[in-house]
């Protein structure tokens, strides 16, 4: 829930700011967003599993995005699509995280129902 609210606030803010970047940097931004999305889902998973650490989340959030952008940049310079590495890794982790989150949410729901 908190993720959805945050995303909505962010999208509204972004649209309101009317901020844009050059077309050629769109790949970098996409990869960075993917890394951030992975971090957010990871954080949600950790929060539900009671293992959340703010420092780990913040460092992962920015660190992963930075590394993904750096890889894409390097790929551009070398002439190979390195951003695919970030897409595959973060995409895979997104699915894993989502699977864990789903399981935790379902477990929690049934536990609460049992307790009732």
């Amino acid at each position: 829930m908190i993720v959805v609210i945050g995303l909505l606030i962010g999208i509204i803010l972004g649209l309101a700011m009317n901020f844009s970047i050059p077309d050629i940097y769109s790949t970098y931004l996409t990869v960075a967003i993917l890394a951030c999305l992975d971090s957010v889902f990871g954080a949600l998973k950790a929060y539900l599993g009671h293992t959340f650490d703010s420092i780990v989340f913040i460092s992962g959030f920015f660190g992963n995005a930075l590394i993904a952008v750096a890889l894409t940049f390097l790929g551009d310079k070398l002439g190979i699509p390195m951003y695919l590495a970030a897409v595959i890794v973060f995409g895979g982790r997104l699915f894993n995280n989502f699977a864990v989150i789903r399981r935790l949410v379902i477990e929690r729901y049934f536990r609460r129902k049992k307790n009732d």
Binding site: G6, G10, G14, D23, S26
Partner: protein, 245 residues
């Protein structure tokens, strides 16, 4: 503690949301385009190129407008041009032998010399008394040299594509077989044509000396009918002055 965690995730989500909305801007396309330095340079060059093209087109438009004004001005005299062109066309057709023409000139009538009873048909005497195609060619050539403007043999006009060819007892001219006697009509400077016809060593005299009957007449009003069918060229085309070979 849990509150801090929630705030952190919320912050992360907000940042993510902003990123996504920026991506929306890129994919949906905004009116304001921010260009990288290299793109800006290319765009500036393109702009300059377009401005130059506009300049050239403006100049062309001006030139064309001037031409148009000139044409409009000369439209009134265009009927004169047309009539001049038609006049020229008619003249060309007359010279080429497609149109009937009239004028002063001379007529030359040639008939084969009479053969003796005892004369062999294949003898040199008989050959000399007969009119041949090369005799006609020489006469035509001489007449042209001496001021003939148009020539006809037995009514067939001589043009640039006319052939004069021997076909046994006939001479083929413009694809038509013509029998003797041959009447050559030539329009042109009468005095010089007559002088040629009567000249001592001219082809006409040579033929007369060979025993061929020659009749030379001066004619004040010769009428030569058009007999040459003008052909459309199939192989020739204009040689342009651009060095094309």
């Amino acid at each position: 503690m849990i509150k801090l965690q929630k705030i952190t995730i919320l912050f992360g989500s907000i940042v993510l949301g902003i990123g996504i909305s920026i991506l929306f801007h890129i994919t949906t396309g905004e009116k304001t385009i921010i260009l990288a330095q290299s793109e800006y340079r290319d765009a500036t060059e393109y702009k300059l190129k377009l401005l130059k093209e506009i300049d050239v087109l403006n100049r062309q438009q001006k030139d064309n407008a001037e031409k148009l004004a000139l044409y409009k001005k000369t439209t009134d005299s265009s009927s004169d041009i047309t009539s001049n062109l038609l006049e020229e066309l008619k003249q060309n057709r007359m010279l080429l032998g497609a149109e009937s023409v009239k004028g002063p000139g001379i007529t030359l009538i040639f008939s084969d010399g009479e053969q003796n009873v005892a004369e062999n048909a294949d003898s040199i005497d008989s050959w000399l008394k007969t009119i041949h195609n090369d005799d006609m060619l020489k006469v035509i050539n001489g007449l042209k040299l001496n001021g003939a403007e148009v020539i006809a043999i037995n009514g067939e006009r001589i043009s640039a594509t006319t052939e004069i060819y021997c076909s046994w007892a006939f001479i083929t001219i413009n694809g038509k077989k013509l029998p003797a006697p041959f009447e050559i009509q030539a329009i042109g400077e009468q005095e010089s044509l007559l002088a040629y016809a009567n000249s001592e060593f001219g082809q006409v005299k040579i033929m007369a000396n060979r025993g061929i009957k020659v009749n030379i007449n001066k004619a004040a009003h010769l009428v030569l009918q058009g007999s040459v069918e003008l052909k459309s060229p199939q192989y020739l085309s204009e040689q342009l002055e651009t060095g094309e070979k």
